[in-house]
Symmetry: C2
Subunit: 323 residues, 2 copies
């Protein structure tokens, strides 16, 4: 068996990664509750105080489809001015970009799928049509000096058609990059993919896009997210999307998690001696803030461990014959 020596494994991992916080957008848009604008802004403040430098704050999509994001313009206008922090909004089309530009956004994101069936169901057009639609959007954004991030969804698995070929993901990622996206976020929408598929998918994408321009966006529905992130690090990925307090949940599963929790990703990075620039206790506080508002416990392992440690029952930790 050809094993990887630990020394090489440690050397092979990046020294520093960027965390892109998506809880305020990808998280809250999947919550049933409409979160007040002031609460969103207060949450963003707490997150940037914890060191977050890249954060999605909303999307200019039809409020008919995503009512949770209807206040995006207000959120953007209320954003704290913090040097070095990049705020981003999702735009589905030219009309969305226009709204973003009018509101003064400096970064936008466009989103395509690697599965035809998902593309049709999610954004009502084929993959090719969506890419054709984004071309002028990206061009107009660049003319306005606005950075564009690209998302690819269903990078391992489609909820309608199952396994998605890595080559298809690489093709869509490569197209978005060629059109001018500075970073391509690769989303395991169902959360069903594992570390081996992750490495195959990342390695295929890295043949079309520099690996330093790829980001991993993992959902923890099947518990695979941290193992997939570890596998992505082995493939050289240095950016990851995550959601404070695991905001978002799974759209069809009460109690199941959706986006991997930012706190858990940061804990993993600490264990791997990889710098994130983030303050874990402040992140946990930010997660507790929004979770209290949503009237539920924060959906991250680290928040649960910390809250258990603060409870008086910790003295029972060393039960007899524990292994």
């Amino acid at each position: 068996m050809a094993m990887t020596p630990i020394e090489n494994a440690a050397e092979g991992l990046p020294k520093r990664v960027k965390i892109v916080e998506v809880g305020v957008r990808d998280g809250l848009q999947n919550e049933k509750v409409q979160v007040a604008t002031a609460v969103k802004i207060a949450l963003i403040n707490r997150l940037t105080n914890a060191g977050i430098q890249s954060i999605e704050v909303g999307s200019f999509v039809s409020p008919k489809w995503v009512p949770q994001m209807a206040d995006t313009a207000e959120v953007v206008r209320g954003l704290p001015v913090k040097p070095g922090v990049a705020y981003s909004v999702l735009v589905p089309n030219m009309r969305g970009l226009e709204q973003a530009l009018e509101t003064g956004c400096r970064e936008v994101a466009v989103f395509a799928a690697a599965s035809e069936a998902f593309s049709q169901k999610n954004i009502n057009c084929s993959i090719a049509e969506s890419l054709a639609r984004f071309g002028p959007v990206i061009e107009a954004a660049q003319k306005a000096g606005v950075n564009v991030r690209g998302y690819v969804s269903c990078v391992m698995n489609c909820p309608f058609t199952g396994d998605v070929p890595a080559e298809k993901v690489a093709e869509v990622a490569g197209a978005l990059y060629a059109m001018g996206c500075y970073e391509i976020s690769l989303g395991d929408t169902t959360g069903a993919g594992g570390p081996l598929a992750t490495r195959r998918m990342i390695d295929a994408c890295a043949r079309q896009v520099p690996v330093t321009a790829l980001a991993g966006h993992f959902h923890d529905t099947y518990g695979m997210a941290l193992a997939n992130i570890y596998a992505s690090l082995e493939s050289g990925v240095t950016a990851f999307d995550s959601s404070v307090a695991g905001l978002g949940g799974c759209p069809y599963s009460p109690g199941a998690t959706g986006n991997v929790a930012t706190e858990d990703v940061v804990y993993l990075m600490q264990q791997l001696r990889i710098e994130t620039g983030l303050d874990l206790p402040l992140l946990v506080e930010a997660g507790n803030y929004i979770s209290t508002y949503l009237e539920r416990p924060a959906n991250s392992r680290i928040a649960k461990v910390l809250s258990a440690k603060q409870s008086p029952t910790i003295t029972g930790a060393a039960s007899s014959q524990a292994v």
Copy 2:
């Protein structure tokens, strides 16, 4: 950056692993409820029907300390006879071994710690004293033709003293192996260790014990278990302990998980194309059986996903602009 090519990573992983089910012992001993003997036996039956071939069924320790295991002799007498299935019981000392032999057990397990503080608090003696005590126990077991498995706890982290050196773990693992244990299970008792510490610890142990005689025993309290298992596979480990339905919980944390769930480990192995010989739907059924008895949902991601998929709300899966 020295990256590991995916081809080598895939080649470097084992083709088949053994899953040791510890839910009936390590899991149920941490439950507040005293589970009826007949229910334990019915659970064991369901687990072996799902393909489990190695299973811990109880421990001969003082019922004063672990009342949940007081019926171990009855459980052992009621075990289904299934070819190829190894049932094991934990024995803390010669008295425990005698009970095991009287009851007709064919496999026992002994347990030491890699942390002095934990050894003192958990079994009231130093590591050296515990090893000295196990010497005659292992010898007597072998004379009776009974296999002995060794446990080492606190292999990365001690709840009382923090980080545990990999060399200390290797020393204890090596001592147990030299005394005659056929397999050494390495337990991350707190669940706080990450993949890098896992690889360092496994690699240190593999210098004292053949890697094929090592097993990973991970708790998922910090969400690290599956990433640690993936890292262990990269170091060549081919046996893992886990607990159906995540039985056990964390002794000091209501709601937090303790042992990693067998269902989730098997799902990970399926994703890695690694054979376990287990039937995942039957395992989930076994987990649901005991969880129903304990009046709570099964604490595995896979059970949660499956139960959500059976709910009528699945039609809401494709929310607009999901990424």
